[in-house]
Amino acid sequence: MAITGLLLVGFLLAHMFGNFKMLLPDDGKEFNAYSHWLRDFGYPAIPHTVFLWIFRIVLLLSVFLHMYSAFKLRVRAAANTGGSRYVVKRNMEKSYAARTMIWGGIIIVLFVIMHILQYTAQVLKFGYASGVSTLEPYDRVLAGFSQWWVVLIYAIAMGAVCMHLWHGVWSALATLGVQVSAASRKVLKAVAYVISVGLFLGFMIPPVLILFEVIGK
């Protein structure tokens, strides 16, 4: 769970960095070139889209293994704590994020499905005519985020990612044994907070700028 989780965090960081190409004032030339390059990575040594598919399979496998671990943990926990456990229960540890990991995970999975249908498979067409299928990646992004409710959905999903990683990054590192002392716990928690808030801000910058017509006009 820790290893697949950190793999997915690595992907998110790369994804966010790629998105920043939206900010270049070149009407999307760099962004589109980057998008095509992802499909032709390693060409001609590697055939078209082969690298992309290997990448996708690794990510998909990570997601499934991550979900399988979560499911197993949940089943074990439910078996040992089952049903109505205490009449009165209070908590001392302030850990809202840690206790809601599974719900954050479910929101993220649903969002990722929508996100792929929208931008990769182009089944969901937000902000442009349903018959059109010739838009370049840059224009698809502009069209989608010109709708306020699309931006809102993305903000909610990124909030879920932020919450999930607020606990998740530190928890994964602790599970891998990196937490060697009370001082290192503080450092690891700080790393988790920086990554989760950084991802939220980083992912929300392009959509918000598009919505307020700072870029793309």
Binding site: N80, T81, A182
Partner: protein, 251 residues
């Protein structure tokens, strides 16, 4: 002082249980929590009612026998054992909810008494050092570095009360298991069996039906001995290392 107690009563393991309310007068604030329960039981016995069953032994906070969930927190959440919790921690006229530890691996025997022999079996799986008996060796022949010795002592203070399991939303006993792992892993005497120990103790932990650790941290908050979450990371480090060690293989 006067308090209202709401106590989990359960006649036996497979009987249904529920909260029963008992008003109790004449409680001194200098009484320990268990002395307050003794007082209640005296009244119940005089009235010909069944006294409330609860576990206790040393009443000095070092045996790990006592332990109940008080107002939703294991041991009352005062960083001490139930026996060392005193009635001055409660307001006059307070209502106090008392429940047993609840986990599938800790079945209730009666009222507030639970069966914690699952912990014994985890210790039996490797929480010891195999040594031939004989005369004690010269103490200075095995040097233990100061920092490691301190860590070992800190973790050895675990009394196995089970508060970590009671508080954990997953019902995990990782804090308990990791305290013993860390205690022995820090000392020279613990090295020969270090990696087989961590494997077999974690296997027994899972076998007993305890949940997995998701690093929520509730266990360390209620632990009367202050065992830190870092101990669980030590267990994980040793468990990962055991995958690459020959003596980690089961013989």
């Amino acid at each position: 002082m006067k308090v209202t107690l709401r106590i989990w009563r359960q006649a036996k393991a497979d009987a249904p249980g529920g909260m029963v309310t008992y008003p109790l007068d004449g409680v001194s604030q200098d009484m320990s929590f268990l002395e307050m329960l003794d007082l209640l039981n005296e009244h119940l016995t005089e009235r010909g009612e069944e006294p409330v069953a609860f576990d206790h032994d040393c009443r000095e906070g070092i045996c790990g026998m006592c332990g109940v969930v008080i107002n939703g927190l294991a041991h009352g959440g005062q960083h001490t054992t139930t026996c060392q919790l005193h009635m001055r921690s409660f307001a006059d006229g307070a209502t106090i909810d008392i429940e047993p530890w609840k986990a599938g691996a800790f079945p209730v025997i009666k009222d507030l008494v639970v069966d914690r022999s699952a912990f014994d079996r985890i210790i039996q799986a490797g929480g010891f050092i195999s040594a031939n008996t004989g005369s004690a060796p010269e103490a200075h022949s095995v040097p233990a570095p100061k920092r490691q010795a301190d860590l070992a002592f800190d973790n050895a203070t675990c009394i196995g009360c089970g508060a970590c399991v009671a508080a954990c939303p997953n019902g995990s006993a990782m804090l308990f298991t990791s305290a013993k792992i860390t205690h022995l892993a820090m000392l020279p005497q613990g090295q020969p069996e270090r990696y087989s120990r961590v494997k077999s103790m974690v296997a027994q932990h899972d076998e007993e039906g305890f949940g997995g650790c998701t690093n929520i941290g509730e266990c360390a908050q209620v632990c009367p001995k202050g065992i830190p979450l870092e101990s669980i990371s030590q267990l994980n480090r040793d468990l990962i290392a055991s995958l690459f060690k020959g003596d980690g293989k089961q013989g």
